[in-house]
C-alpha cells in the first residue's frame, strides 16, 4: 500500500498555485523635484538640482478576508546599485490581521506612527508641500543631534478605530526594536539593547472638520562611544479640514534626550500650515516651522517659512511651487546663523 501511495505521489505534478489578481491591489506614487538657493547665505542647493526623487510601488495582498500584507517598495534618486547611487528600500512591509474594527494586529517593518506627517512623508502626492516639515520630522537637519523619533520601527503593533459619542477615533500602539545608534546593527533585524521602543498615538474627530491627536515615543539609545540615553518625545496635533474656508494643520513636539552621563537635552518644535483650495485645483499654502534644539542653549533656534501653491493638473497629478526661507541663530549646530532662501518645485503623481 505504501508503495502504491508513493507511486501516485511521484506521478502527481507539483504545481505553483497562481494567486488570483483580485487579491492584489497595486498602487504607487512618483516624484520629481527641483530646488535652488535663490538668495541669502550660501547654504542649501547652490547649483539648482533636478532630482529623480522617487518612485514607489504600494502593494496590498489579501490572502484571506482578515489578513492583509501591506508593502511599499521605493527606488529613490535614480537608484543604480552598481554605481552606489540612490537608494532602494522597503518603506514598510507588515502583515495585518483584523480581529475587529477596534483591534487589528500587525507585525513587520512599519512607519513610526507619530504626529501628522511621518507616515505620509514619502507619499508626495498626499502632501501639499514639496517636503515634510523639518522642525518636527527632520529636526536633525535644523540643528538637533537626534530626531524626536525614528522614521521606521520593526516590531509589533495593535491598531483600530471606533467611535465614542458619535465621534470617530483611532489609535495605534507599536512595540519595536527602536533606533540603533550603532551603524553596524540593522534595527530592522536586531536590537542593540534589551529595551524595546514604544510608540503610541490617539486621534479623535471632535467634529467632521476637526481632528485632534496626541503621540508619544519612548526609546533607550546605546551609542558606539558607550554612552546611553533615554529618548522621550511627546506630540499634540490638530487638523482642521475645511473645503470651503481655510484648512489648518498644527503639530507641536516636545521631548528630551537624557544621557546616563548626566546631561539632559530638552528640545521642542512646532509647525503650522494654512491652505485653501480654489476652483477645486489651485491650493496656495503657507507653513511656518520652529525648532529650539536645546532649551539650555541661547541663540540656537531655527525657523522656516514656506509660501507655495499646489496645482492639481490632472487626476492625482500635482505641480508644486514654493519659496522656502530659512532663518537661524548663531549657535545653531547645522545652520550657524545662516539665513537663505530656496526655490523648490516638484511633480507628484499618485496611481
Amino acid at each position: 500500500m505504501h508503495r502504491i501511495l508513493l507511486a501516485i505521489a511521484m506521478v502527481l505534478p507539483l504545481s505553483a498555485q497562481a494567486v488570483p489578481l483580485d487579491k492584489f491591489d497595486i498602487n504607487g506614487y512618483f516624484s520629481f523635484e527641483y530646488e535652488k538657493n535663490v538668495g541669502g547665505d550660501e547654504e542649501g542647493d547652490l547649483n539648482g538640482s533636478l532630482d529623480a526623487d522617487l518612485v514607489d510601488l504600494v502593494i496590498n495582498f489579501r490572502p484571506t478576508d482578515k489578513l492583509r500584507i501591506a508593502t511599499d517598495f521605493t527606488w529613490e534618486h535614480g537608484a543604480a546599485s552598481e554605481d552606489g547611487r540612490g537608494n532602494v528600500a522597503v518603506e514598510y512591509a507588515f502583515a495585518e490581521y483584523t480581529l475587529s474594527n477596534l483591534v487589528k494586529v500587525r507585525a513587520g517593518k512599519q512607519f513610526t506612527h507619530f504626529g501628522i506627517y511621518n507616515e505620509i512623508h514619502t507619499a508626495k502626492p498626499a502632501t501639499l508641500t514639496v517636503k515634510e516639515p523639518l522642525s518636527t520630522n527632520k529636526n536633525n537637519k535644523l540643528g538637533s543631534d537626534i530626531r524626536f523619533y525614528p522614521r521606521w520601527g520593526n516590531g509589533l503593533a495593535v491598531t483600530g478605530n471606533s467611535d465614542w459619542n458619535d465621534r470617530d477615533f483611532d489609535y495605534i500602539v507599536q512595540l519595536t526594536n527602536g533606533e540603533d545608534e550603532d551603524e553596524e546593527i540593522n534595527p530592522f533585524e536586531e536590537d542593540d539593547n534589551t529595551h524595546k521602543a514604544v510608540t503610541a498615538r490617539f486621534r479623535i474627530n471632535i467634529t467632521d472638520d476637526l481632528r485632534l491627536g496626541a503621540s508619544t515615543y519612548l526609546d533607550r539609545l546605546d551609542f558606539e562611544s558607550g554612552e546611553k540615553a533615554d529618548l522621550t518625545s511627546y506630540g499634540v496635533q490638530a487638523e482642521w479640514t475645511s473645503y470651503d474656508i481655510v484648512s489648518i494643520e498644527f503639530e507641536y513636539v516636545v521631548g528630551e534626550v537624557d544621557y546616563d552621563s548626566g546631561t539632559t537635552v530638552e528640545r521642542d518644535a512646532y509647525t503650522i500650515m494654512f491652505s485653501r483650495a480654489f476652483a477645486g485645483w489651485i491650493t496656495p499654502y503657507f507653513r511656518y516651522e520652529y525648532l529650539d534644539p536645546n532649551d539650555d542653549i541661547d541663540d540656537d533656534d531655527a525657523n522656516l517659512m514656506i509660501l507655495g501653491v499646489n496645482l492639481l493638473v490632472d487626476t492625482n497629478m500635482y505641480l508644486k511651487f514654493e519659496i522656502d526661507r530659512f532663518d537661524s541663530e548663531i549657535n545653531n549646530d547645522d545652520l550657524a546663523g545662516a539665513d537663505y532662501t530656496e526655490f523648490k518645485a516638484s511633480l507628484s503623481i499618485g496611481f
Binding site: 506614487y29 514607489d56 478576508d65 507616515e119 473645503y243 492639481l312 492625482n316
Partner: protein, 143 residues
C-alpha cells in the same frame, strides 16, 4: 413617404430604448450588497464611515469589502450625499490612507453590472451602485 416615416419612428423608438438602458436613474442610485449579508439597512453615518475606510468589519466579524460605480448620476450622488467630498478631495483622502499603508481604497467599477457581480461574489461586499441592476445582489437602504 409614409413607409419612410414609419421606419424613422421605429429607429427613433429603438434608439431611445437602447440608450435608456445605459442611463442610470438618479432615483435608483443606492447600495447593493452581498445577499448573505445580515443587514438590510445602514445609517448614513456608517455608510460614510465604510467608504472612508473607518468601518472595516461588520458586526458579525465579516470584513467589509466596499465598492462604488463611476457612472453618472450614481457617482455624483456618491460624492455629494454619501462621502460628502468632491472627487479630488476623496482621491486625496485615500492617497494618504493607501500610501501610508493604512488601508485599501474601495474598488471602483465602470458599470453597475460589474459592481453587482462583485457584491454577489464577495462575502461582506457592499457597493454604491444602481439598485435597478441587482444581478443577485440585495438592496441595503441608507437611513
Amino acid at each position: 413617404m409614409k413607409l419612410l416615416f414609419r421606419k424613422f419612428i421605429v429607429v427613433i423608438a429603438a434608439s431611445v430604448v437602447l440608450l435608456s438602458s445605459h442611463f442610470v436613474n438618479a432615483q435608483s442610485a443606492g447600495v447593493v450588497a452581498n445577499p448573505a449579508l445580515s443587514v438590510s439597512a445602514i445609517s448614513a453615518k456608517n455608510a460614510k464611515r465604510i467608504f472612508l475606510g473607518k468601518l472595516t468589519v461588520w458586526e458579525d466579524g465579516t470584513p467589509i469589502r466596499p465598492c462604488y460605480v463611476d457612472v453618472e448620476p450614481v457617482i455624483s450622488t456618491f460624492y455629494k450625499n454619501v462621502v460628502k467630498r468632491k472627487k479630488a478631495q476623496y482621491d486625496a483622502y485615500w492617497n494618504k490612507k493607501v500610501f501610508s499603508g493604512e488601508g485599501v481604497k474601495p474598488t471602483m467599477f465602470d458599470s453597475a453590472t460589474s459592481a453587482s457581480d462583485f457584491a454577489v461574489n464577495n462575502k461582506g461586499a457592499i457597493c454604491f451602485s444602481d439598485t435597478a441592476v441587482l444581478g443577485g445582489a440585495k438592496v441595503v437602504s441608507i437611513q
